[in-house]
Symmetry: C2
Subunit: 399 residues, 2 copies
């Protein structure tokens, strides 16, 4: 039988082992965090997570990189594009991120970047927030685990877009649509038209080999209801896309490129450098990247879009005209407070026609859905045109 001394020795051993085990656990948990950093420094030391970003100032690219910390961006959809988008913004040191998604992480998502197998079963916003906080504890996060398209959630979504800024009560600076369905895109469009909120739409085709980003400034550019949504032509047999019951393909490459060009344009817009693209497509089969821009449609079905167009016209009219010989060209740039360049334009006449037929788009860009032949062939009046757009939208909702 063991003596009291032997028992006491065993207790000391066990206590030491337990302390070690707990220390190891704490170390794992602590190691996941870096301390917060109050002021972004440009100091070139290995321990400074911002040195390579602050170097953009010395390189003459960005005037005031620190300003990134004052901005709030809402990311709607935290899937293949949205999660990488959120990670890029987090690593760039954005002030605040609002994340919206109602999906759970699945092993079936592991062919795209960001989520890890051990997160399967967690809600995407919860898993994303945990990873992103560990990457950069200087960013503020606000997550909403719900579907924005239900009436109640939509109201809450509108409220957070208009009041969820870094300074509570202020609107967010930008909304990024990284969703994978038409209904959610239309919900974001409706909210942003009503709020006059600038947003960027993104998308990847079901065959995984093309994608695009599109900046929408209510009143200035075509909104999502102004014209059929634009996609990049895949140059492959379209019939393969429409087969029923086929799960969509996806690739980490295409989604990484789309997230990359999306966040790059967000940085250019927020930090005022380079030229922000209105529409940038990516055709992975040919490595072709078409660009374009489309004006708002005065016959848009969304009344808030039409209202924003009136306000935009007034604002442009009030701006002082710069007297230059080539006045017309100047006006195009004057319109535009973001330094965004119109690459190619679809005229208003073309857009009106587009509600019945396909607009004249640059090479490589096409509409996401085509209009039934019978509508195309009928003689068109404005009323019929509006009707056909409604039909089209109804059709698209069904898809």
């Amino acid at each position: 039988m063991a003596t009291v001394e032997e028992l006491k020795l065993r207790i000391r051993e066990l206590e030491n082992e337990l302390i070690k085990c707990k220390q190891k656990q704490c170390a794992v948990e602590d190691a996941l965090q870096r301390p917060k950093i109050d002021i972004m420094s440009a100091e070139v030391v290995d321990s400074n997570p911002y040195s390579r970003l602050m170097a953009l100032k010395r390189m003459g690219i960005v005037d005031d990189y620190e300003k990134i910390r004052t901005f709030t961006v809402a990311v709607v959809g935290v899937g293949g594009v949205g999660s990488v988008t959120a990670e890029m913004l987090t690593r760039c040191g954005i002030g605040k991120l609002l994340l919206f998604d109602y999906d759970k992480v699945e092993l079936a998502n592991m062919n795209r970047l960001f989520f890890q197998p051990h997160q399967a079963g967690l809600s995407k916003v919860e898993a994303a927030e945990h990873t992103l906080r560990n990457i950069n504890p200087d960013v503020s996060f606000e997550t909403h685990n719900y579907n924005i398209t239900t009436m109640e959630n939509f109201t809450h979504f509108m409220d957070r877009i208009s009041h969820g800024g870094l300074e509570e009560g202020k609107p967010v600076d930008l909304v990024l649509s990284c969703v994978d369905n038409f209904e959610a895109r239309m919900a974001i469009n409706t909210a942003c038209n009503e709020l006059g909120q600038i947003w960027v739409e993104s998308g990847v085709s079901e065959n995984a080999v093309s994608g695009h980003i599109q900046l929408i400034n209510p009143g200035e550019t075509a909104c999502f209801a102004c014209a059929p949504p634009l996609v990049v032509a895949a140059n492959i047999d379209e019939k393969t896309l429409k087969r029923e019951g086929v799960c969509a393909a996806s690739l980490p490459t295409t989604m990484g490129v789309v997230a990359g060009i999306l966040v790059q344009n967000v940085l250019k817009y927020l930090l005022k450098f380079g030229t922000v693209s209105y529409y940038l497509g990516y055709n992975a089969m040919q490595d072709f990247f078409p660009t374009m821009a489309m004006k708002a449609n005065p016959q848009c079905n969304d009344r808030y879009c039409r209202k924003q167009q009136e306000e935009y016209k007034k604002k442009v009219a009030e701006q002082p005209k710069v007297e230059v010989v080539k006045v017309e060209e100047e006006v195009v740039h004057e319109d535009n407070e973001w330094g965004i360049e119109l690459v190619s334009e679809v005229t208003e006449a073309e857009l009106q026609a587009a509600t019945g037929t396909v607009p004249d788009l640059p090479e490589g860009i096409t509409v996401a859905y085509t209009i039934p032949a019978e509508v195309k062939e009928s003689g068109e009046t404005v009323e019929e045109t509006e009707q056909s757009l409604e039909d089209l939208m109804a059709q698209m909702r069904k898809l």
Copy 2:
């Protein structure tokens, strides 16, 4: 004083607590792993990590996606571009990855994707392998924590490129250069010329706003020693790039886009779909993506490059000619066993001139280093030209 019974009770308590602590640790470690998967399935269930990739077959994009598991890719440089490249290939289910790097993870790397703050201090290849294994345990990994440019390591590197395939003894299928300096690129170039190994070079500018990928097939295309390396024109004041003692800027966006277009072209090349780009640039300021192709330089300084050119010529001559009216155009495509399309070509005459002057490149592409004015002005013979290329290379090495 405690009784024997009390001591025994304390021992049981401590033992239970220790078991719980250890179980918690194991659970954390186990959760990081998913079981291996023997056969890639197209089944559309949430638990299948390959369903969205196998869907590429049903979408008509890829004929035989499972073939991805038979390929080995070497990634040299596991930094901002290389780590994301390795992650994309891992998530796509590549057969085997060889990773080469000699750097440690630092907090200063956190402005790019992939590494996490808790990995600071670990070697990049060790940290990367751990993360990648957790993401996809079906991939084989081989890591080398060394600098490939030292004589001894270079010999070992050559050996692993030529024998480190999935089936030991076979060469790798592709080498990807994701390094950040000229010396390492030249080492890869030298190895691949000698081995006749196809490789893809990638690069991001020091100001973080441009990048490129370039496919190099020894004997067919210009190698890294054939002509000054090509970069995408930044369209900003070049003087800001050359300031001394300035740390390079970097962005997760630019590096994500470059990794994305790199791996997309790797997938197209390995799985035979779409058109593989010889050279694809990315100008982030203007969202401009120039493409081009350059033939090998018969006066290349690398004797293995010249040898590969002879062999390539022989191979092309041996191929049966297809009789078509436009014979010349046909020959260009016939040359080419990878279905790669020449977008625009620099002629051999231009290339010879390029050793002394800048070749006539497509809009948006420029050489990484310009040739001193005095060399340009001298009357050139073949000897002088070769000399000036050597001078240039020596200069570049110093940079």
